[in-house]
């Protein structure tokens, strides 16, 4: 099965989703990220969804799960690059993504994480 690459940048992990997500890839990403956070001791995870033209309840749940499990593993997750049409649809679908940090783009997401890291 195709797996999404997870890049380590300093103390952060970056996942940039560039393909049409299959559910099995979404589940694999969740597991891979948990492993990589522990393995690298990363303090932050940036998930770039700029290329995603939809986020449905399955993908939305994955984002919430990654945010929750990274928190337990002492890392912070930021979801970046959500398209406006995707945001509108998510709200109407009923997914508010409570508790998930977001930023407009990768650069801002990484800055948010490094600021948070310095403060705590």
């Amino acid at each position: 099965m195709e797996r999404l690459p997870i890049l380590k940048i300093g103390s952060m992990l970056l996942v940039s989703i560039q393909v049409d997500l299959r559910d099995d890839m979404v589940i694999a990403l969740q597991e891979d990220l948990a492993d990589r956070i522990v393995e690298t001791g990363a303090r932050g995870v940036v998930i770039d969804i700029t290329a995603l033209d939809i986020v449905d309840s399955f993908t939305g749940r994955m984002l919430a799960t990654v945010a929750a499990l990274s928190r337990i593993l002492d890392a912070e997750t930021v979801v970046v690059g959500m398209r406006p049409a995707v945001a509108i649809t998510l709200v109407e679908l009923g997914l508010s993504l409570d508790g998930i940090k977001t930023a407009l783009n990768v650069e801002r997401g990484m800055r948010l994480l490094s600021l948070g890291g310095a403060a705590t």
Binding site: D20, L21, R22, D23, D24, M25, D53, I54, V55, D56, S57, F58, G60, R61, R83, P84, A85, V86, I88, T89, E92, L93, G94, L95
Partner: protein, 132 residues
Amino acid sequence: MSAQELAIAGDADVVRVRQAVRAAAVSAKLSLVDQTKLVTAASELARNTLTYGGGGGAVVEEVFNGLRKGVKAIFHDKGPGIADLQLALTDGYTSGSGMGLGLGGARRLVDEFTIDTAPGDGTTVTVVKWAR
């Protein structure tokens, strides 16, 4: 565009259904937000067909109402059907491992939503989204 039949038997098929619905929505000149809503609804419904219906199929076609264009998508399975439809459409209710937003959420994202189901008799969900 003529009606397109797609099988739903695995995760890759859900992606293919999304792509077919997206292509039809672009062809019917739906706005970007409406395209996104329809494709998201299709993704939820195709996953339901796979997860709860045990697989099935989708029919995607362009429809017309006078000068108005739209996209119709039908999702059908021969699974166990839905015993309590009202409950199944309630946000937060799930009989599986989902978030319980699939059916009710999909209904909010489209203009027309009809569901035909009976216990033991499979489920057919038809949705339509019109260009504005």
